[in-house]
Symmetry: C2
Subunit: 240 residues, 2 copies
């Protein structure tokens, strides 16, 4: 039930917000999507209350679940708040409902686990943050260790900063090379990291081990939760 009548020529983007989202998961794609031709970007949450990001930035949604239109791009960021969202029936129902008519169903980082929990990646190739990639398999997806993965109308990005590469791919898919390149130049995306340690493939193995250990508890929490969700969905009394 949209309260905002949408022009057929607008590109309607829905970026879902939840407490504990990672700011850059949202901001990278936002900066690209908001520059797409005739883009109208909605920051969508259950209610209009300001939402506290993972590290403490307070962002105010501009569209509530009840007012959300049909989206050409439906997008879910990641972040530690993903754990709560995975068991938030209202959020998952909204996601499932909106995915029906959405053009592209997309995510970055652990937002992919949320898509998975909503059953939207079953049988799809997908990616997420490197540390949690194998968990996608538990959710019925085929985990692919790439920066951006396209499978039919699902486009997923790897961890946090991958959102920029991801969104430029979306720009390319929808509008072609020139539009994607123009946005890349406008946001001066000519990356020049000082070190080659942005992926477990390139980083020093001791560093990969250190980060893996530091995130071990969170990994286990995420794994156990997914197993619990799957077990519940298999109970005959709770058919999904």
């Amino acid at each position: 039930m949209s309260t905002q009548p949408q022009s057929t020529s607008d590109l309607v983007v829905g970026m879902l917000l939840f407490p504990g989202l990672t700011l850059l998961d949202l901001a990278g794609p936002y900066e690209v999507f908001s520059r797409l031709p005739k883009a109208r970007v909605h920051l969508v949450a259950a209610r209009f209350d300001p939402i506290l990001s993972e590290k403490g930035v307070l962002i105010t949604p501009d569209t509530s679940f009840d007012d959300a239109p049909t989206f050409d791009i439906l997008f879910v960021p990641g972040g530690t708040g993903q754990l709560q969202v995975m068991e938030d029936d209202r959020f998952l129902s909204f996601l499932r409902e909106k995915s029906q008519a959405a053009g592209l169903i997309t995510s970055v980082c652990t937002g992919s686990l949320i898509l998975g929990a909503a059953g939207l990646l079953r049988g799809y190739r997908a990616t997420t943050h490197w540390r949690y990639l194998d968990l996608l398999g538990l959710l019925g997806a085929q985990p692919i260790p790439e920066r951006v993965v396209i499978d039919r109308n699902r486009i997923t990005g790897a961890g946090v900063s991958a959102g920029i590469d991801f969104a430029l791919v979306v720009a390319f898919v929808l509008f072609g090379e020139t539009t994607a390149q123009a946005i890349q130049l406008a946001i001066e995306y000519d990356p020049a990291p000082s070190f080659h340690s942005g992926s477990p493939k390139s980083a020093d193995s001791s560093l990969v081990n250190r980060i893996s250990t530091a995130t071990g508890e969170l990994y286990e929490k995420r794994r156990r939760q997914i197993e619990r969700i799957i077990a519940l969905s298999r109970e005959p009394t709770r058919q999904s």
Copy 2:
């Protein structure tokens, strides 16, 4: 006058907000700074009212000018709102005052023009968004067409997405290689743009011309404003 007594071991970061800032200018560095050891990141504005970013995201500051502590890192993002800030005496005074005791004085994108307007780049090598780089010269800085430029305690980054490279350099300068690399791996910063059009050096010249033309009016507005500011500051009745 700080109301928040600060522990000597905290790393105190002040990120200045203003209406019309570019979200990614803020979010890239934020995602890195907030992961620095013992970091306490403040989102600082004159008042606590929510601030509308350039493309429409509403962000709430957590620290007012009156409550701001001394910063180890003082940071200014860019965005079209830079035009208003350049003539906002309160903002510029705050910036000048806080720069006195700040460890590092930093900016990304057209935030560098704001540092320049506050007189903080006179005699310094610096960078900004490629389209506005020469304007730094008018403000007494030496424009350098690099992604990140360090000159004494000034560290500046190029346009929008350069904030990630910039902030990882800050992480390296303050904490060394391992910390910078660990954050790079945590945010999976292993950039893989599909095209090489993120800089005027690599992009197709017709694309560079197109973007230059499209931003011609904004460029002129920025140039004329800087000339006006400089003329005013030279009037004998208004010594700066």
